[in-house]
């Protein structure tokens, strides 16, 4: 194992943040917040282990990402993880989220929702200026929202998040009025994401090509250079004064610059961290996490559960064989997940029994629905008519083998995850399922999903709101978007579920929301549409020269406004 090849540690050792010991009993919101406090460290508070000592000004930090290189640095265009990661330290949003998942103001100072829920007045800070000198005001907010909604921008994430926003206007310089077509309890959560960050209207006016190369924001850093397939350089914004809630300090960042490198291979990325060529890496492999968290390794790991859906198997209930609830239940009863998670991930992740990730509010856990019971699985399959077995031991009905196609995206699933799928394949084979794993590149994988050509699959979806449930499981989203993409891979169509999700998306009463979201998750668990596996973890490795690094809770993205280089 590579962990044995780590060079001798530097002169001092350090405490590292680990997640292995944390409990995952999700009593909805309370546990989620406790977990966030333990697993990640929002805003670099005083108890933050790596924030000891006096900050040192200056220096260059090299960050190596495995998420890939954006084709456009403006996260309004498209809207994916590579854009959010590099953009978070340059572009700021109207709202932020604290470690409890609560919305807190950022570039906004607050918001007022009308009684009918259709008008939202957002009050704005008056002391913020974009790095090109353009003042941040209500006109800037209008220009940004219109940019996201403009078809020519080709937005996917932002435009979807603004689905209920009919128009925005500037009431006065410090008030932007959002007019909605229907109430949207997730609006502020949506506006907190980097994909809906505020950019300089003058920058937007330069046109797409120029703005893609270097969008202009209000953040602690400024895009200064982009050498394709090599690096992006971020330099300090000396006039910075709008740090998010929870940040360790206000005012300009300590670092002179951040060199953002693209290193697709995880082994090379970790080797570069070990040899000191880079200071921070993301997308760590489980064995590397173990090596880096070992005492005296000279490295630390920050983890946080990405908000939105957990990593889970979606059973395509629209087509045979999973259109039969008994067959779905049999599959879930037969799939023995826990031993695989324990062995393949070296204790770096915990089993999840919730469709929502542990960092997303209103997650509900239904562990009893996911107990392993091969006898029950066999009984259910017999009852469903899959009574005979062929020579290879697979169940057969009317001459048809009980085959489940499982397209696996090789871009999204790490090797340990693919091995976990193989273990699920092996354990379900014992009761007669023929699960066929198909490793596919991203485009082919989306094509298979788009044509419903699968029995089960695993898809990721990051959104900092339980409203992700509506996107993934409302029957409206069985209908494909014009692109052919339908988020409701499970093909769930239940009127009560639709009603609960719609109402939860419109009510702003927290108790009512909790009730409705729990009801929705109960329907999903009892109908055996989804098999939750584990949290989608952001795993950031860093050298212990790096001090004051934290994850912004909204999307669990590294925040460098408080970071400095020691020694």
């Amino acid at each position: 194992m590579r962990s044995q090849q780590i060079a001798p540690p530097p002169s001092h050792t350090r405490q590292v943040v680990t997640v292995s010991s944390r409990s995952l009993t999700l009593a909805a919101l309370a546990t989620a917040s406790a977990l966030l406090l333990a697993g990640c460290t929002a805003g670099g508070e005083a108890e933050e282990p790596q924030a000891a000592g006096t900050p040192v000004e200056g220096g260059t930090l090299t960050y190596a990402t495995g998420f890939g290189e954006a084709t456009c640095l403006d996260p309004h265009v498209g809207g994916n993880m590579p854009q959010a990661l590099v953009g978070t330290n340059v572009l700021e949003s109207l709202f932020s989220q604290d470690e409890n998942g609560e919305i807190v103001p950022w570039l906004a100072t607050g918001s007022t929702v009308s009684d009918d829920g259709l008008t939202v007045d957002v009050a704005l800070r008056s002391d913020v200026t974009f790095t090109d000198g353009t003042p941040f005001d209500a006109e800037a907010v209008v220009a940004n929202i219109e940019h996201m909604k403009d078809p020519d921008t080709a937005s996917s994430t932002a435009i979807l998040a603004l689905g209920k926003v009919a128009s925005v206007q500037a009431v006065d310089a410090q008030t932007a009025r959002f007019t909605l077509s229907e109430p949207d309890s997730a609006l502020q959560e949506s506006l907190a994401q980097t994909w809906l960050a505020m950019e300089s209207p003058a920058g937007l006016a330069r046109g797409m090509d120029e703005n893609c190369a270097a969008p202009i924001g209000t953040g602690p850093f400024v895009f200064s250079e982009w050498v394709k397939q090599d690096h992006v350089t971020l330099t300090r914004n000396d006039d910075y004064a709008s740090a998010p809630a929870g940040a360790a300090h206000d005012g300009p960042a300590y670092l002179d610059e951040i060199v953002w490198r693209f290193i697709p291979d995880p082994a090379t990325r970790f080797a570069a961290l070990q040899s000191g060529e880079v200071d921070v890496i993301d997308e760590m492999q489980p064995d590397n996490v173990v090596a880096a968290t070992a005492e005296g390794s000279g490295f630390g790991v920050l983890t946080g559960a990405l908000p939105g859906a957990s990593i889970r198997l979606e059973l395509n209930s629209g087509y045979a064989p999973f259109d039969d609830e008994r067959v779905r239940k049999a599959f879930i009863k037969a799939a023995d997940v826990n031993p695989g998670i324990e062995s393949l991930f070296f204790g770096t992740v915990d089993r999840s029994y919730s469709v929502l990730s542990s960092s997303t509010p209103y997650g509900a856990s239904f562990e009893s629905e996911y107990t392993v019971d091969a006898d029950e699985a066999n009984r259910l399959l017999d009852e469903a008519g899959w009574t005979s077995r062929d020579a290879e031991g697979y169940r057969v009905k009317d001459g048809q083998r009980l085959t489940v196609d499982f397209p696996v995206s090789t871009n999204q699933s790490i090797p340990a995850e693919v091995s976990l799928f193989e273990q699920i394949q092996a354990t379900t084979k014992a009761v007669g399922f023929d699960v066929e794993l198909h490793p596919l590149d991203l485009s082919s994988w989306y094509a298979a999903l788009g044509s419903w050509d699968f029995g089960v699959t695993s898809a990721i979806y990051t959104k900092n709101s339980p409203d992700v449930l509506r996107i993934l499981y409302h029957s409206d989203n069985i209908q494909p978007a014009p692109s052919g993409y339908h988020p409701n891979h499970s093909h769930v169509s239940i009127p009560e579920l639709d009603a609960a999700l719609t109402e939860a998306g419109e009510t702003s009463d927290p108790e009512k929301r909790a009730e409705l979201y729990e009801e929705a998750q109960r329907i999903l668990a009892e109908g055996a549409y989804v098999l939750p596996l584990y949290d989608h973890l952001q795993k950031i490795g860093y050298s212990d020269r790096v001090q004051g690094l934290s994850l912004l809770p909204t999307l669990q993205i590294p925040y460098f406004g408080d970071t400095w280089m020691a020694g």
Binding site: N80, K228, Q229, P264, D265, T268, A272, Q274, A447, A481
Partner: protein, 313 residues
């Protein structure tokens, strides 16, 4: 006239190779699932609106029948217009121009290092008797069989993580080139070494070696002045093929060592169904391959005077 005719055939062959590469790539990309209009609108999975998709299809002519698109594409190629990359929103020529330098440097250095290792090994292992021959031949077979990605990871673990002599990822300085070049050069040296050693062995038994020795030339002199030339001949012939092989190896090496270059560009472009960029890169590689073939022919003529004499008859 015969020279002109030979060049005419050669040019026609080159044009055919380029046309075939462009055509196969064009239709090959259509056989794998995935929608280019999606790539233009932020990649697969993006929830682009019907209007946006329709606008993009119209703008890029993707709503036309495939034969019309093909004809248009060939038409543009003939005028030297490679079009614009869907995913990078930049002219293909610019993308390739920015990335080709790194790949050519990598390929050229790897070819040179492979040659030095292969020739050195061939000359040494044919001198020291049976044991040296077995060792040389064994090393060549192992080197030739090693996959690039495996060799790259092993080199990184040994020279970057453990010994800390060399960087694991590409850097601006020459030290960042050492591991990528070795990754490409070692397996190639294995291939080249195998054929060169055979040919050195043949040459050592040739009458002109006997006569040179009879004239009292030293063993080193015989090898340098007479045998080396023969040993090199099949290596020269293989170098044209090696160039294409190095470019395909660059896909792996540039990804693992995080080097900018054509290989990584090609990989990303295929994954994103960026048809103009894929075809652009494939054509550049095809042109490079044709040029290398011409160069190796010329080099063979320089190295082997018998061919020049035959050509004059």
């Amino acid at each position: 006239m015969s020279v002109l005719a030979r060049w005419g055939v050669r040019v026609a062959g080159a044009v055919f190779v380029l046309w075939a590469a462009a055509t196969l790539t064009f239709f090959g990309l259509r056989l794998i699932p995935g929608d280019p209009a999606q790539a233009i609108l932020g990649g697969p999975g993006s929830q682009a609106s019907a209007e946006a998709l329709a606008a993009v299809r119209a703008e890029y002519g993707l709503d036309q029948p495939v034969w019309v698109q093909y004809a248009r594409y060939l038409g543009r190629l003939v005028t030297g217009d490679l079009g614009s990359s869907y995913s990078l929103r930049t002219p293909v020529v610019e993308v390739i121009g920015a990335q080709i330098g790194g790949t050519l440097l990598l390929a050229a250095l790897s070819l040179a290092v492979a040659w030095i290792i292969a020739l050195g090994l061939a000359l040494w292992s044919t001198r020291g008797g049976r044991v040296a021959a077995a060792v040389g031949s064994g090393l060549e077979i192992v080197a030739a069989a090693v996959p690039h990605f495996w060799l790259a990871i092993v080199l990184v673990l040994v020279f970057s993580t453990t010994l800390r002599w060399l960087p694991a990822v590409s850097t601006k300085g020459p030290e960042g080139l050492v591991l990528p070049v070795l990754t490409l050069a070692l397996p190639l040296a294995g291939f080249l070494g195998q054929v060169m050693r055979e040919s050195v062995l043949d040459a050592l038994e040739a009458p002109f070696v006997l006569s040179a020795r009879a004239r009292g030339e030293s063993e080193g002199g015989v090898r340098l002045r007479h045998v080396l030339r023969h040993g090199a001949l099949p290596g020269i012939a293989l170098s044209g093929w090696a160039f294409g092989w190095l470019i395909s190896g660059a896909v792996v090496v540039e990804t693992i060592f995080a080097r900018p270059g054509l290989g990584r560009t090609l990989l990303n472009a295929v994954q994103l169904r960026d048809v103009p960029l894929v075809i652009g890169v494939v054509l550049v590689v095809a042109v490079g391959y044709v040029l290398m073939t011409v160069l190796t022919d010329a080099a063979t003529r320089v190295a082997d005077p018998r061919l020049r004499l035959r050509g004059a008859v």
